[in-house]
């Protein structure tokens, strides 16, 4: 019979922060090694594209800052204001990104069962998960910030210590939104009914939409662009020097960087950043200690709701009834999954707000101050607006079309073992994403062109261009999504911010650039004719240029879809 004497308590040390984080960084390293070994030349090319993108971003900021720096009286103040606005926009992005990431890393991640069941000290657990959240949500902002800070350092001659100053300013600036996002999510998970935890993102999206509008009013960008609205230079200067809000960490970071660049000895911003961030980490940790256990337990209870056939399904079923059962059910399945997954449709709210802001900006352009319509300016804006519309469409495609293949990952056993043709799968995915995007693209183009009072010629050109671009951008999104799938993503919102998502955005921007440059030829011919009052004649050069645009867009549609299909055929699960 076994002895009733209790076993002695073994001497025990809680695992260190490094130990808790080991699986994460080792997995990241392994993924990097795997991806590197796949195809070296391809990665060299991609590195080249990334370097080109950074060089372009640096070039734009360098030119702008050079111009600003040359303005004797207001140069430094204006540069500081621009940096403040950029950092405030980044802070908004970081807060949203941290909220989304914190939900998955603290409450839904697959490694949590092991970590929560293990005797890991609560503080180390919090710090490990906070670091993981920061890494996942902030890397893209850091990548974008890199060329911007470099431009500031070069133009204002920041010296060799400037990178260290920039890093010192950015570290607490990045930590703060992560702590705040994590704390908000901890509270929301505890407050929300247990079965609705996964629907929290819709609430976050609505909050973010409101925040975006607030941010737009907080920055008041029109003040910078219209100095004539201010009575005199002194007032303008004073407006520039007044921080948008002295309590915003983005202002502290901007001031810290600018103080170094214009050699002002002011320790206040440094002190504010480096006392607030650690204080917030401590407060965040205390909140975590109080709320986490109950919140995590609630988050584990799955949604358990009966679903009746939604009214929206009937028109789709009728419209698709001529298709084969497999294509029809595949499209219906995609639509059902989309509308039932809050992580996906909640992003639509954000999108709607972004579109309103975009259209509002177009409407606010000061083009029609005189009696006569400024043909040159209107044509130029309509022309360049194509690029902007293309960028908006690419951002939407990154959110909704790029994740399509990744989302099938765990169910791929079913699709591959059934007699479903992968071509049909890709076809369904392509048109399910492209049809609404095309409708949106046409709506944006017509609305902005009407607001800009575009001519019939420019309306035709931009509608044709945006049509071709939409087909190409959708194909690029789906193709890149198949080439760089993220089957292990725990949250849909994480998929577009992956390496492949970044590459897709870069390629889309390059495509937009090429199309704009080629189309400049026919638009210039048209403008010349308009300015001298002649009739626009369609010449060979114009036809060739437009044919080239169609050919490039066709190639950008077919090639990524083919590559994506081949990659899917090669995929092993």
């Amino acid at each position: 019979m076994a002895s009733s004497r209790p076993a002695p308590v073994p001497s025990f040390h809680s695992p260190s922060l490094g130990t808790v984080l080991t699986p994460k960084w080792r997995s990241a390293l392994a993924r990097l090694r795997q991806e590197r070994s796949v195809a070296n030349p391809k990665y060299f090319f991609l590195a080249l594209v990334a370097a080109g993108f950074w060089a372009a971003a640096f070039g734009v900021f360098y030119r702008v800052l050079l111009y600003v720096h040359a303005q004797q009286e207001i140069g430094a103040a204006l540069a500081a204001k621009i940096l403040g606005v950029i950092l405030l926009s980044f802070a908004a992005m970081l807060l949203l990104s941290n909220l989304i990431t914190a939900l998955s890393s603290f409450f839904l991640a697959r490694d949590l069962d092991i970590l929560v069941a293990a005797p890991v000290d609560w503080l180390r657990f919090y710090l490990a998960k906070l670091l993981e959240t920061i890494a996942n949500s902030s890397w893209m902002v850091v990548l974008i910030a890199f060329p911007i800070f470099t431009a500031y350092g070069v133009v204002f001659r920041g010296g060799i210590w400037f990178p260290l100053v920039a890093i010192t300013a950015m570290v607490p600036y990045i930590v703060l939104p992560a702590v705040i996002g994590t704390a908000i999510m901890s509270i929301l998970v505890n407050v929300f009914p247990a079965r609705r935890t996964r629907d929290l993102l819709s609430l976050v999206a609505i909050g973010a939409a409101g925040g975006l509008v607030l941010l737009f009013r907080l920055i008041r960008p029109e003040q910078l662009a219209k100095p004539d609205g201010v009575r005199n230079l002194l007032e303008y200067l004073s407006a520039l020097r007044t921080p948008a809000n002295p309590f915003l960490p983005s202002e502290w970071a901007a001031r810290m960087v600018m103080n170094w660049l214009v050699q002002i000895a002011d320790p206040l911003p440094v002190a504010l950043l480096w006392t607030t961030a650690p204080a917030f980490v401590v407060l965040g940790a205390l909140l975590h200690q109080r709320l986490y256990a109950a919140g995590y337990s609630k988050a584990q209870e799955g949604a358990n709701k009966a679903t009746r056939r939604g009214g929206w399904e009937w028109p789709f079923e009728r419209a698709l009834r001529r298709l084969t059962p497999s294509k029809r059910e595949f499209i219906l399945k995609d639509l059902r999954v989309f509308f039932r997954d809050t992580q996906q449709w909640s992003q639509l709210i954000l999108l709607a707000v972004l579109l309103i802001v975009y259209l509002f900006n177009i409407r606010s352009l000061p083009l029609f101050s005189g009696e006569k319509t400024p043909v040159f300016l209107v044509t130029l804006v309509v022309f360049l607006n194509q690029g902007l519309a293309g960028f908006v469409l690419a951002a939407i495609a990154a959110r909704f079309i790029f994740p399509a293949v990744s989302l099938e990952g765990r169910q791929m056993w079913l699709l591959r073992s059934s007699p479903l043709d992968l071509r049909a799968l890709l076809w369904s995915k392509y048109w399910t994403g492209t049809t609404p995007l095309l409708a949106l693209a046409m709506m944006i183009t017509v609305t902005t062109n009407v607001l800009l009072r575009a001519s019939t010629f420019m309306m035709a050109i931009s509608l044709g261009t945006v049509f071709c671009l939409t087909l190409a951008i959708s194909a690029l999104a789906l193709g890149y999504g198949a080439l760089y799938p993220r089957f292990d993503a725990e949250n849909t919102a994480q998929i577009p911010t992956s390496f492949g998502g970044l590459l897709f955005m870069m390629t889309s921007i390059v495509l937009l650039g090429i199309v704009i440059v080629i189309e400049a030829l026919p638009v210039m011919s048209y403008l010349r004719a308009q300015l001298v009052g002649a009739r626009t004649t369609v010449d060979t050069r114009m036809v060739l240029a437009l044919a080239a645009v169609v050919a490039i867009c066709a190639a950008a549609t077919i090639i990524p879809l083919r590559l994506g299909l081949r990659r899917m055929e090669e995929m092993e699960f």
Partner: protein, 252 residues
Amino acid sequence: MIRLTNLTKAYGSFLAVDNINLHVPRGQLFGFLGPNGAGKTTTLRMIAGILRPTNGTVEIAGADVARKPMEAKSRLGFIPDRPYVYDKLTGAEFLRFVAALYGQDGPIIERRMDELLALFELTEWKNELVESYSHGMRQKLIISSALIHRPEVIVVDEPMVGLDPRGARFLKELFRAFVDRGGTVLMSTHTLEVAEAMCDRIAIILGGRIAASGTMADLREQTESGDSSLEEVFLKLTGGIVDRELDVILEA
């Protein structure tokens, strides 16, 4: 019905499946056994057309899976070891979707779906999202989905995992009845008692190769095991438990 010829799967220099030749005739329940990492799941996933063989061929009812995938796959029902399904579909929607993948829809499928759901005691859950199903319920739903298009061949990886005793018992009866009506089942399992009681023939795979194959009597003869149980035969082939290792683990 299932014929594997020189089937090989390599991951770099590692041979997961090494030149397997196997024939499972029509109307047989064939057990596929082996220790963890022996190559069972890899073989089954190659048969289902999910993995591409490095070498060799897979034929289902005479159709080569690589050359005539549609023909081969339309006769097959595959049940994987991990029950991943679309969380945001209801059980009924999932079954309707799977039927459509095999080109079937309409009232016949609706009737069959109701029959299958009733058979697996899932009728009450028909209109619930799959995300609220337990592991066992998901497994039952996947088994239903593998049967919805009336396959001729079922390839199943660890079917008993997650099922309650009642469900496991029912599944055994179901497979037996399926085979008795002319169907073919290739089943991988770690439950040796189930394999011994149910299977007409058994293959034991070790290090990617078939170490022994045949009826229970054949296996006993090949391993010179006398009247031993399948467990004894299996352990003899794959290596027994080392007592010394147990001591090391359990002693403080």
